[in-house]
């Protein structure tokens, strides 16, 4: 499964970046979301996969019996997911406000802050 997931992750990266290269603000966010999935899955896979053995200490035991899934990447991904959620939520609202300001979803219209001299 590692191989298959490696391909999936590569595809996620590719698709995420591809979406970021589009002109639409909404697609931009979609791209960021995909990159989020990609990096989370990557951490998960790179830390090696273990089928179906969550890192739970059985009742009465003091430790988890091998084999079990590495809990560390899980904790990291959890944090990353949540943080990513906060950022994405903000980004969404930002895009909508930007849309209202520019009156377009086209990122190529969002140029005023770089090219001052065009406006002066």
């Amino acid at each position: 499964m590692e191989v298959a997931l490696a391909i999936v992750i590569g595809a996620l990266y590719a698709a995420g970046l591809y979406m970021m290269l589009r002109r639409s603000m909404v697609k931009l966010i979609a791209g960021l979301v995909l990159l989020g999935y990609a990096s989370n899955l990557l951490i998960f896979v790179v830390s090696r996969l273990t089928r179906a053995s969550p890192p739970l200490v059985p009742e009465g035991a003091h430790s988890v019996a091998e084999p079990f899934a590495d809990p560390v990447p899980q904790a990291l991904i959890l944090t990353a997911i949540v943080i990513g959620f906060g950022l994405q939520a903000f980004a969404l609202v930002l895009v909508r406000r930007a849309f209202q300001a520019v009156n377009s979803d086209d990122l190529d219209q969002v140029t005023a802050s770089d090219r001052p001299d065009l406006q002066a």
Partner: protein, 494 residues
């Protein structure tokens, strides 16, 4: 610990008492004063006792999250505290009521907390968390107010900075997948022991890109000039002074502690990057005709200088880089704050619409001129010393072209800054520009006070460049002797 907790607590209290402007102001000022004292105490302790490390939750390293205060970190915490305080005082006079009501102060506090966390953490993933804290706080500060320019700038800022997050996380994943560690000291050990089958250098490239974007290196800096000139000046100031430095700081950490397997290659790449960054940044500064945009591009070119110090990878250069870092934090913050006053008294940031300030506000002229010259590296001001040190380092290594570029950049910086001087202070204001109402004395005090304080600090660094250099030299030694760091974190016998 305290540098993180003090602003955090004040921010929490502010959020609980949402909407109470006066209380927010008070909490923010109290928090930043507290932060300043804590930072001073930390620096003193670290300077006297060496590297400190504290295990959060009392879990032993490398299992729990470790906070490590070495000299480089402690110095940066102090910088954050200083600029934070100055900006907050300035904000009390410069900020509109609406922004104050909508959480400006807690956001700044959290930003400061995030920086201190990033400077102090000894855990790679925790560093990511601090980065995100800073990122979200800076998003919010950047967009707070919601003018079109702000929103447009924010879109680019967030898009490219989220790209950083992806790269950073990917890099962390790779490192964990190779070593099973997150603790930076443990990672350093593991990577030193890593066999040739481990693609360490490739992973280093991921981090180089991630922090290259953060630090605003060529060709990854585009978000910066697109956004830094859009928010209120106080926000610009703290961004300009501190935020990009966190990226540089992280870059230096990574490439002194973790990725030193193939310095000839990685640091060579950084060297090229630094040179291109300097050049393209300063060209941008020359191209623009709006004060904050010029300053923004100058941030980039000078980031190049700092990275250069890292890329040369020797004690002298790193000491110079760190001195440059200190100088640049303060001077950039000063210049942005001054640009705010210029806008306040002149009515604009655009050179074409400014003029005559030399005559009407000679004091302000001096307040601009000194940091501007310092930024350009005019001796004996603060920017000169690190430039001198770096120049020596470059010439010692026989990097003629690089030295030439560095000097050219220095000249062009001067040129760009003097264009501001000529355009805003010397030239006549165009007809039809309405002069804004004069300032009340409280406003004046709150605006000029922080600028004067920062300027005094600039001059202090200029005059006492010696002690400052000694300090950064020690900091550089710590950076180049990771063993110290590793022992401080993991104990004598890891």
């Amino acid at each position: 610990m305290l540098p993180i907790l003090i602003p955090f607590l004040m921010a929490i209290l502010s959020i609980i008492n949402w909407g109470n402007r006066v209380l927010h102001r008070f909490l923010a000022l109290a928090g930043s004063v507290g932060l300043l004292f804590a930072a001073l105490a930390l620096l003193t302790t670290v300077s006297e006792q060496g590297i400190l490390s504290s295990n959060t939750g009392d879990w032993p390293a490398p299992f729990g999250i470790v906070l490590v205060a070495d000299l480089p970190g402690a110095i940066m915490v102090l910088m954050a505290a200083i600029v934070g305080l100055a900006v907050l005082v300035y904000s009390t006079a410069s900020l509109d009521e609406a922004r104050e009501r909508f959480g400006y102060y807690p956001l700044i506090l959290i930003l400061l907390m995030g920086m201190c966390g990033a400077f102090l953490t000894g855990d790679l993933f925790n560093l990511y968390v601090w980065f995100e804290i800073m990122l979200i706080a800076s998003f919010a500060l950047l967009a707070l107010g919601g003018s079109r320019a702000q929103l447009e700038g924010s879109v680019k800022y967030f898009a490219l900075n989220l790209l950083v997050s992806a790269f950073f996380l990917t890099g962390i994943g790779f490192l964990y997948g190779m070593t099973g560690s997150l603790n930076m000291a443990a990672l350093a050990q593991a990577l030193r022991a890593a066999g040739p089958e481990q693609p360490v250098t490739t992973v280093a490239i991921f981090f180089m890109i991630a922090f290259g974007i953060k630090a605003a290196m060529f060709p990854l800096y585009f978000w910066l000039p697109a956004s830094y000139h859009t928010p209120p000046v106080a926000v610009s100031a703290i961004f300009a002074g501190l935020l990009t430095k966190v990226g540089v700081y992280a870059m230096i950490r990574m490439f002194t502690l973790l990725f030193v397997q193939d310095t000839a290659w990685t640091h060579g790449l950084l060297l090229v990057g630094a040179a291109l960054t300097m050049l393209s940044g300063v060209l941008g500064a020359v191209a623009r005709r709006e004060i904050r945009r010029i300053l923004s591009f100058n941030i980039i070119s000078h980031i190049g200088y700092i990275v250069l110090g890292l890329a040369l990878y020797r004690p002298l250069a790193l000491a110079g880089a760190w001195l440059y870092l200190i100088h640049h934090v303060i001077v950039m913050a000063t210049l942005f704050l001054v640009s705010g006053i210029v806008q306040r008294v002149g009515g604009s940031f655009r050179l074409a619409r400014l003029g005559g300030l030399y005559q009407r506000h000679p004091g302000l002229a001096l307040l601009f001129l000194l940091p501007a010259l310092a930024l350009s590296g005019v001796p004996p001001l603060s920017g000169f010393w690190p430039k001198l040190v770096l120049l020596q380092a470059m010439l010692q290594d026989g990097l003629w072209l690089l030295a030439a570029i560095a000097l050219l950049v220095s000249l062009l910086t001067l040129f760009s800054m003097m264009r501001i001087w000529v355009g805003a202070f010397w030239s006549q204001a165009p007809a039809g520009v309405v002069t804004p109402a004069p300032m009340a004395s409280v406003e004046r005090r709150m605006l000029y006070g922080p600028v004067l304080a920062l300027l005094a600090l600039t001059i202090a660094i200029s005059v006492f460049s010696g002690p400052a250099f000694e300090l950064t030299q020690r900091a550089a030694e710590q950076l180049l002797n990771p063993q110290q760091y590793i022992v401080a974190v993991l104990g004598e016998s890891p």
